[in-house]
């Protein structure tokens, strides 16, 4: 029987594993092992088996499902270890990947190099043939050019071919024909066609997604093959699923066929986890690691998506769940600039040597060092005592910044701590305000072991009244894998407008998308009763060029004439929410249509509740520098491991557990729920 459900999220430093046995959750961590990530994966499984006092074979034999969030695709892209791609493009437009949409730069900075294109010009081949914006053929496809391209790519050689022709999203005939010719001439080379992968207008975004997908054919399928082999050999007979960048999961076969969906798949599980942990409508999810700080948001119970996710010097091109990373983590280094302003990051001490407090010879102060000086961390009880910290080294490192700022060491440490907070707050504001979300009205969920000693002050600075530190905070993304759904999406471009709405064409498009979505769920083995579909369109006012997505529900599976004003109204509302202005008599142009296929996934609803209790045991007291007092104050330290349900603590206080430390400020009250999560609310004057 399948007693266990397992989720494993491999990050750059740690491989997090969360296991549910139906009554309780276990979180274990093993070091990641790049580039052979499957070793860390198996190590984490072995630790998990031990947590349930089972040997690995028995544990795996009793495991029904393993969900995997992987960094293998992200790592390959960041380190430039992907397969070599040949790009076939429309004649006259060979520099789409070089010009991009003009890479972003600081206006006054000229001491920098223009970034190289993802596919070199020598691996780019132009073919004649042209479709216009309305799908008319301006020039026929020159098939000779395609033969020449294949000949060229064989000589290079390349590992995969990407085909991205102008307007293939409106009329894919040329692109399909190129695919047929390449398959006939060179059947063993993988081919990605842009209209099939990412059917959106904007040639750069479609092309870069196509090229990235092609480049990962040499990486992701082989990795998943090795991983599946290893886990099967060890005794696993259940279902292996892989998290995708849509906040869901797919079968190994589906990810191997579209490997771009594996990019940044792990972090997208964090908002999925938060959605399960909290019933709040608007949630901001934060996750502070060693070198980066990830932020995502949930609006009206829906995950927020972006079409502008960056990867290296490029965009990913493919719409994905919006999770933003900034260089602000525990390892971010503090320094003082020539004008005397304190800066924190973006340079990080990394995992090795790490912060000065790790005692590996680093001398520059990091956020972790500052936290240790402030008393927020217990040098003897970091990571449950597994990594003793060197308080003297941290103090000496922070003193270098204190001297430059002419401050006491503790004051300087506090300045570093708060400046680090500000970097994270800026990232939170960036994702929320751009989406029309008021962070003040949101609920905050904190993931990552280091976050909880910053969240109280960040919540106060942002004016957020309530937040949550889950019991699984240290493995938040991996937990998301336990509760996520099978998820895929089908998109098509069809231009129409509110004044001349092409009802029949839209309905034909929606029917075709629904058919594709249904087949996706069939292939993933989702039973009929567990299938669900969501509809959305992207639209803009006439002459705007940036679309906004709005959800809709066709009442009987198809739109009727009377629904058209409702679509426009949904757009006006969304436009006002995001940009504060609306034009009720403005013409709305609809550009793309999406059907999301969802197959109900796991869930942990049946987890046993922890016994109730009044108080959290108090372990000792620790002297902590409090910003408002500008002095050290002794604070009670409570034991946060397996807290009794309903037990509460009022700040100022600390809650220490094996994986995290929560700092509660004056007026903040934490209360444990029945599943080990702490809910913190800020006193409102009572």
């Amino acid at each position: 029987m399948s007693r266990y459900q397992v989720s494993i999220d491999i990050g750059g430093t740690f491989t997090d594993c969360v296991v549910s046995d139906g009554t309780r959750l276990a979180v274990v961590k093993a070091p990641s092992t790049p580039p052979a990530f499957e070793r860390g994966f198996m190590d984490a499984l072995a630790l998990a088996a031990r947590a349930f006092d089972a040997d690995l074979a028995a544990f795996l034999g009793a495991t029904g499902r393993i969900v995997h969030g992987t960094t293998v695709a992200t790592n390959a892209l960041v380190e430039g270890r992907t397969g070599a791609v040949g790009l076939i493009c429309t004649a006259g437009h060979p520099d789409v990947l070089t010009l991009r949409e003009a890479p972003r730069k600081r206006a006054f900075d000229w001491r920098l190099d223009y970034p190289k294109p993802f596919v070199p010009r020598t691996r780019t081949f132009e073919v004649r043939g042209r479709i216009d914006a309305r799908g008319n053929e301006i020039a026929p496809l020159a098939e000779d050019d395609v033969h020449a391209a294949v000949d060229h790519f064989r000589r290079c050689p390349v590992d995969a071919i990407a085909v991205s022709l102008l307007w293939s999203v409106v009329e894919p005939a040329h692109e399909r024909r190129v695919g047929e010719i390449v398959n006939a001439l060179w059947p063993e080379v993988p081919v990605t066609l842009s209209h099939a992968l990412n059917p959106i207008p904007r040639e750069y975004r479609r092309t870069i997604a196509t090229a990235i997908d092609a480049s990962l054919h040499a990486i992701v399928p082989a990795y998943l093959g090795r991983l599946e082999g290893a886990v099967r050999e060890a005794g696993f007979a259940g279902t292996l699923l892989v998290a995708n960048c849509q906040g869901g999961m797919m079968t190994v076969g589906q990810i191997a066929a579209r490997p771009i969906h594996a990019v940044m798949s792990g972090p997208t599980l964090a908002p999925v986890a938060a959605l399960d942990l909290s019933g709040e409508p608007d949630i901001v999810v934060i996750d502070m690691g060693g070198t980066t700080f990830d932020v995502s948001a949930i609006r009206a119970r829906a995950l927020i998506r972006t079409t502008e996710a960056p990867i290296g010097n490029d965009l990913l091109g493919l719409p994905k769940i919006d999770v933003r990373s900034v260089g602000a983590g525990g390892g971010s280094i503090a320094w003082v600039d020539s004008g005397g302003l304190l800066r924190v990051g973006p340079v990080s001490a990394g995992a090795d040597p790490g912060p000065a407090a790790y005692g590996r010879g680093a001398t520059r102060p990091t956020v972790t060092d500052a936290n240790l000086v402030l008393g927020l961390l217990d040098p003897a009880y970091f990571l449950g005592g597994r990594l003793p910290l060197d308080a003297g080294a941290a103090h000496r490192a922070v003193a270098t910044v204190a001297d430059a700022l002419d401050l006491e060491v503790a004051e300087a440490a506090y300045a570093i701590h708060v400046t680090g907070n500000e970097n994270m707050i800026a990232a939170i504001e960036d994702i929320t305000v751009n989406e029309g979300i008021d962070p003040r009205e949101s609920f905050l969920v904190a993931g990552g072991g280091a976050t909880a000693c910053h969240i109280g002050e960040m919540a106060r600075a942002l004016g957020i009244g309530r937040f949550m530190v889950p019991g699984v905070a240290a493995g938040l993304s991996a937990f998301g894998g336990l509760v996520t759904d099978i998820r895929g999406e089908e998109t098509a471009t069809l231009h129409t407008s509110s004044s001349h709405f092409a009802l029949d064409a839209v309905n034909r498009t929606l029917a075709a998308l629904l058919g594709r979505a249904r087949r996706f769920l069939e292939r993933a083995g989702v039973p009929e009763a567990e299938r669900r579909y969501e509809y959305a369109f992207q639209a803009r006012y006439r002459y705007q060029s940036w679309e906004i997505e709005a959800p809709f529900e066709p009442a009987v599976g198809a739109l009727r004439e009377a629904d058209v004003p409702l679509l426009s109204a949904a757009f006006h509302d969304m436009h006002e929410r995001i940009h504060t202005i609306r034009e009720d008599d403005g013409e709305v142009e609809f550009t793309t249509w999406t059907v999301r296929a969802i197959g109900a996934g796991g869930g942990t609803a049946e987890l046993a509740a922890t016994p109730a209790g009044e108080r959290l045991p108090e372990r000792d007291t620790r002297r902590v520098w409090l910003g408002e007092a500008r002095a050290f104050r002794p604070l009670p330290v409570h034991d946060g491991n397996a807290p009794p349900a309903g037990a509460g603590v009022t700040g100022p206080a600390l809650i220490d557990s094996d994986t995290t430390t929560i700092l509660l400020l004056a007026g903040q009250r934490a209360q444990a729920d029945a599943h080990g999560n702490f809910h913190v609310s800020v006193g409102d004057g009572d």
């Binding site: 003009a102 206006a107 042209r130 800026a426 060029s545």
Partner: protein, 592 residues
């Protein structure tokens, strides 16, 4: 600049400066996403800023340099002209004689009050697609006076109590072509400024007026300290550099030489830019507004300082600008025409200032960047009848951007656009342009053998072609750089000049004039090539591996690699890749 505020809490300093940057980002994002003109929404030809109520620039973020480098001149007329500024007002201004850069840069300013007291200005400046000029373009090189430029709002109150004043808006709706586009762009500016207003009020409510005031002073001091520290690292001296704008028939037959004189006084942390020794205003639209002349001197200096210095009143105070009345790069004499003030002569001015620093020698300064306004940035108008109903349109396309200047250690930035833009403009998506307008973008590619050769190259030009898919269209452009290319410095060579040609229906090419409106019938196409950047240093000192890379990516021919760079290259065994012939290269470079 006083040092009194130096002890402002370093913690709050970091916090509040980040907050203000976030507010501007949010304002800019609103303008970009909610506007209608492609030049704003696609190309990001817009900027936002925050000033104190007494007209000192606090903060700009990711803005167009020319838009924001003399913003104090834009808000000052409001308090000079109105004695009843109140909460809920908004002021609209596109008058070059009231502190605006040029007439298409329509600017909305909103006062921010806290507890009844005015504290700040928030400002949104967008390049609108039309200004109601006699011709459907926002750049009129032959408009000798303001009377030929179309509609001006000379700093008028366009909102009261947070509501549009319908009579003022009606002026724009009647006078401007494609009025729904203009109004949509204007409303996006309103949205941005009101967001900025709301956020600043919340900030003041959270931290208190006195703390915010003290922060502003400390922030200005910080900007000044950073600028002083950077200037102290430069040598003392005076340098001059002259750039020449191409001839404009009937306006400046011999071209317009622009000279900058830069004096650096490191011990005082001061740079002085003197423009007084330059020609008088010309009878055309290329005279600079005061906002452009003052702003561009600062830009040329800031391009040579640490880019992380905040661009506020404090750092600007370390740059003294000397202007003259009635000068083509000074304070124009009313009603001299300034329609093209932000680009052409202005780009020559920024080049002149930045190249003064190259006279110091390596590693200082920049070469000349491609200042360009070829048909790749053409203003195109016509009738879109693809949906069976004729809709008139006018829009500036940004399909071809000029190449950036080489500098010590780095090649020029490819998507540079022009000196005034700082490389922040976004290049148009071919598909988005084609979806919105009945235009076919036949071609767009990086042009081979155009970059200014140097130890560090100027960036190459971009070349392309487009034509109408509907009826006839007209294309306006002001292509400075067809004759005088972007020069190299310290042994670097000039980049290729710009080029505009018409392809007739029979395929024959004809070179077009530089300052021009061309009508294209169906079947005819316009071919453009932008200006390439100038090189920095001797091309024979360039790393041979970088030369091989230039050939491989199609930016350079094997012949020029040999002749100009002294690098011999051969094909790799796959017949595709390029490798350096080390031995022959050594021999080539050994002889002078």
């Amino acid at each position: 600049m006083s040092e009194t505020a130096e002890r402002f809490d370093p913690l709050l300093m970091a916090v509040l400066s980040r907050r203000l940057e976030a507010i501007i980002r949010e304002m800019s994002n609103t303008v970009m996403r909610a506007s209608r003109s492609a030049v704003i929404t696609n190309a990001r030809d817009m900027s936002c800023g925050i000033l104190t109520y007494d007209h000192r620039l606090i903060c700009v973020e990711e803005a167009m340099p020319i838009h924001v480098s003399a913003l104090e001149l834009t808000t000052r007329p409001i308090t000079e002209l109105f004695d009843d500024v109140k909460e809920g007002d908004a002021f609209f201004n596109n008058s070059p004689y009231h502190g605006v850069t040029h007439h298409a840069d329509m600017t909305l300013c909103v006062p921010v009050f806290a507890d009844g007291e005015p504290l700040f200005w928030v400002l949104s400046r967008s390049h609108h697609a039309d200004v109601g000029a006699p011709e459907p373009t926002t750049y009129l090189p032959y408009a000798a006076t303001l009377y030929q430029e179309g509609l001006h709002f000379p700093c008028v109150r366009i909102q009261e109590r947070h509501e549009d004043k319908a009579d003022i808006v009606r002026i724009g709706l009647q006078k401007i072509r494609a009025p729904h586009v203009w109004y949509g762009d204007y409303r996006a500016q309103v949205g941005a400024c009101r967001i900025g207003e709301r956020r600043l009020k919340a900030l003041v409510a959270q931290y208190g007026i006195e703390t915010v005031r003290a922060f502003v002073e400390a922030w200005m001091d910080y900007g000044a300290r950073r600028a002083k520290a950077a200037i102290r690292a430069l040598p003392a001296g005076t340098w001059r550099y002259t750039c020449t704008h191409d001839p404009i028939p009937g306006v400046a037959e011999e071209g317009i030489p622009i000279t900058a004189e830069v004096t650096i006084e490191p011990e005082d942390g001061l740079v002085t830019v003197d423009l007084r020794d330059n020609p008088d205003c010309v009878p055309g639209g290329v005279n600079l507004s005061e906002a452009c002349a003052a702003g561009s001197c600062r830009i040329g200096v800031f391009y040579n300082l640490d880019p992380t210095i905040p661009h506020n009143e404090g750092s600007a105070s370390r740059i003294h600008v000397l202007l003259r009345d009635g000068c083509v790069v000074g304070r124009p004499t009313f009603p001299a025409g300034t329609s093209v003030a932000t680009t052409n002569v202005n780009d020559r001015l920024i080049n002149a200032v930045q190249c003064c620093f190259a006279q110091i020698g390596p590693p200082h300064g920049l070469a000349e960047g491609g200042g360009n306004f070829s048909a790749g940035l053409g203003v195109v108008s016509g009738i879109d009848d693809r949906d069976g109903r004729p809709v008139p349109y006018v829009n500036q396309f940004c399909v071809g951007l000029s190449g950036g200047p080489g500098t010590h250690g780095h090649d020029g930035w490819l998507t540079y656009e022009a000196p005034d833009g700082g490389g922040v403009l976004v290049i148009d998506s071919i598909e988005i342009d084609e979806a919105q307008y009945p235009i076919l973008m036949e071609e767009r590619r990086i042009a081979r053998d155009t970059m200014g050769a140097g130890r560090w190259n100027g960036a190459p030009a971009t070349a392309g072609a487009y034509r109408s898919l509907a009826g006839p269209v007209s294309v306006f452009y002001c292509s400075d750089g067809d004759l005088n290319p972007a020069q190299g410095v310290l042994g670097g060579e000039p980049g290729a000049p710009s080029l505009n040609r018409k392809r007739a229906a029979d395929g024959a090419f004809r070179t077009l004039p530089s300052f021009h409106e061309e009508r294209l019938a169906p079947g005819e196409a316009i071919h453009y090539r932008t200006v390439a950047g100038g090189g920095y240093g001797d091309p024979r000192d360039r790393d041979p591996a970088a030369v091989a890379e230039d050939v491989a990516r199609g930016w350079l021919s094997i012949e020029r690699a040999l002749g100009v760079y002294g690098v011999a290259l051969v094909r790799a065994t796959n017949g595709i890749d390029i490798v350096v012939d080390e031995e022959r290269t050594r021999l080539l470079r050994a002889c002078p």
